[in-house]
Symmetry: C2
Amino acid sequence: MSRAESRPPSYGSTRGRPRSKAVEQAILEAVLMLLEDGVPLADLSVESIARTAGVGKAAIYRRWNGKEDLFVDVIRAAEPAERELPGTSMRDDLVLLLESLRQRSLARRSSAILHTAHAQMRSSPKIWAAYHSGVITPRRDLGLEILRRGQLKGELRTGIDLELTIDMFVGPLLIRTFVHHDPDLPDGLPEQIVDTVLHGLRPVGSPRS
Amino acid sequence: MSRAESRPPSYGSTRGRPRSKAVEQAILEAVLMLLEDGVPLADLSVESIARTAGVGKAAIYRRWNGKEDLFVDVIRAAEPAERELPGTSMRDDLVLLLESLRQRSLARRSSAILHTAHAQMRSSPKIWAAYHSGVITPRRDLGLEILRRGQLKGELRTGIDLELTIDMFVGPLLIRTFVHHDPDLPDGLPEQIVDTVLHGLRPVGSPRS
């Protein structure tokens, strides 16, 4: 049994569960802190995670089969609940969606998770799949729902490829996050992207097809 | 001296240089082959590179200080010369630019280089900087030139942020390359993106700001 877990039971009010949950949280938090500090997943040792979390190595080995499974849980635990969309207009909902992506890209924590997961894309497809299903897909589905609602309300053309349309809104913002260490994501970028993509780039007064 | 290089000089018509160039090529090619096979850069050993290239390890140590420097040269060597743009219209030039990005994203070789370089973004900034200056920046500059020409010829609005505008064209395509193992990049995608971004997404007949 680990040092941290061999403390007297008086530390938790109910026995077992809450204590165990707290240990798990401390471990997930330790991984996040180390990744935020720039340690690549490959260099992350169970020793350093245990030391940072203040638990014994056994507490980690007991819960996870390996670093891959542990990091999959880190991805799941770090995902914030998505805010409700006000639904006043498609334009405003798209701006909010992009603003939440912008905030995530600027946050050291989300950015460390993204880059760590993406770095494993080829060598550990399981990790990237967890990121995909846990982080990318829910947001993408939300975007598609916004677009469908926009079509129903006459705010968006019909007969277009909605999968591509969502990429047109999120692509310009996300590509900066992927390509740059310190991405240029100024205030107001979501509005600028949404309005430009909706209105098009041809000179004012030119024919519209 | 390596086994490969201790062969009699009759192998090359002029002495030293061509032979040495061939060895270098074989080494760079070997790294590419191994990366294409899915070996992560971290697992690439000088032994396996030397064996694949059919040269001795000394031939590698003599030329590069380490794997990082070697991979920077792999990036430089693999970059194809950019095609001339016909310049018939901004629209057509943008389609050609995106088509060349699409082809690169579909090519196993370019894709392996991109993902390998990107996986090192946090742990080896030198590699990502080389990819940035050798691959991303030249294409970005070409895109900006196309847009400036388009503004001069009245094909594109003035008073817009050109850096963001180029991201609006390349973002939807590149984000698929980054996010998916096997990106959905069908024939005709460049035309579809360029025309949609130029024309906008509002329903036909709606007011245009």
